[in-house]
Amino acid sequence: MRFVLKTDYHRDSDLFRDRVQFSWYAALFIFVLCLPIVSGTYVESQLTTVFMWSIAGAGLMILVGYTGLISLGHAAFLSVGAYTHAIMLDLGVPFFVSIPLAMVLCSALGVVVSIAALRMTGIYLAIATLAFAMIVEKIVKNWSAVTGGNAGFKVAPPELFGWELNSTAYYYFCLLVLTLVMLCVSNLLRAPTGRAFIAVRDSEISAQAMGINLLKTKALAFAISAALTGLAGTLLAYQWHYLFPDSFSMLTSIQLLMLVIIGGLGSMSGVVFGAIFITLLPDGIATVREWLPDSIGNLPGLEPLTFGLLLILVLIFEPLGINGRWQKMRLFFSQFPLYRNKTLKRQKSFLRTERVH
């Protein structure tokens, strides 16, 4: 077991717990930096997808994992981000302008949704965000003069000062964006703003007693969340080349929700675990499909069914997701052979009632 000696208050706000942890992250970063040199294009494009899902997941994680608000409509922000970006590229706007603009538009939309949904929680909020996503989907479908409707919208290839980025350059671009996003989100979470999110998640009553404005804080969480998911949308647009309204359906929203829950609510490393999982899942399902007898393997609803089933299993058996499992494994090895099975069992909470006492 390692103990951290703190000699100065700044240590508490450092991003990394100690040198060892920093070295691990640095090693991981160098690894992904070097990977395209040795790996084939398949691994490279899969990883690019992981980066993009991680960015979208980071957005949703702020909302679900840190502020305790649910959203079943985050595909709408992906969609608005992707379409805004593609349309502006089409008008000749350079990407370093159109990406921030798309993010601003998404966060404005996020604030609008939050104002409509602020007094709702749980299932009502889920339904309200779902309805919002359906409205966005309808608009994208029917506003064909601008979005191309069901015929699709061709996305201009990524270009920097007249140079077209190839897939490896694009890999590095996404990696850079992901690194910046992770840095910013981690910064937020170790500063007062992020603490306010967590306070709202854990106890609204207490948060108010601490002087936190619930409505403003929730609106802010929605805005940041929408901006990041919109950012992921702009990157996805490049990867997909063509945008269709159906690419951003309810299934996408559920996939995103699955990402944060399976990855582990309330952890940023969970986002990356979840993104890897989501990226590998379609291939996984395809492989399993081949083993299954045709009568089951060709069922049309197999994918959503698997999603749903996995989600339920995780919620029952490992509510802290892959990240929770990972932490337990690390603890097991660091304390071997002293690890006790019940170490991480939560103590029974003291009685809490609905009444404000």
């Binding site: 508490d12 910064n187 703003t193 603490r195 009553i205 007693a209 002087g211 619930l214 003291f350």
Partner: protein, 250 residues
Amino acid sequence: MFEVVRLSKHFGGVTAVHEVSFSVNEGEIFSIMGPNGAGKTTVLNLISRFYDVDEGTIQFAGEDITHAPPHEIARKGIARTFQNIELFERETVLQNLLIAQYIHRKTNIFSDLLFLPRVRRQEAQSRRFLEDIIDLLHLQRYREQQIHSLPFGVRKLVELARALCLKPKLLLLDEPSSGLNPEETEDLSFWIEDINKELGVTIVMVEHDMNLIGQVSNRVLVLASGRSIALGTPVEVKDHPDVISAYLGT
């Protein structure tokens, strides 16, 4: 400094608080006692603005706060604890206390996103301030522990510490001694006096323990069925005939 005038609150047909008036002087320790369901917690919830006031007014530091939004109360200098403990369960003690620094922050969302040097300085400053409160309440051992792994008595202390980290002028305590053993209650009475004397915080405390009230408080208000039936020093109130009959249920 703090005054409540003819405060009333109804829940449907139930009158939880009926025309209760009292005023608290600066530097005082003021207790509220009364049988179960007398409306003590409701009075605190009205002051914290968790409940809307039906009738009456609340004045604090020369300002009418009867209709202030609940998140403004802390900024005005009123902090509180809860009868059933409302902490951020999944966070460490330190994080719980740091949240109380939110109202004193001078950074905004943009500087937080970039974690600019002034955010770092502010964090270190907050930590230094928290350390004083941690020392005052002897919470050093628990700094990095998560709330759900702490015993009940420690949680009560953490909640008290968190309220103090708001740097309040007025502290509302809802049954601070409930669930504590006699030794812990003894410690609590010293701490309450320290907080009052050293930090100069005015205290309004809902309490059942007559001993604790007698030890620390200047005056006591007795509520029964939402009405105030006696107000005076602990000694005066203890022998008041209405109080005795309220507790005996006649």
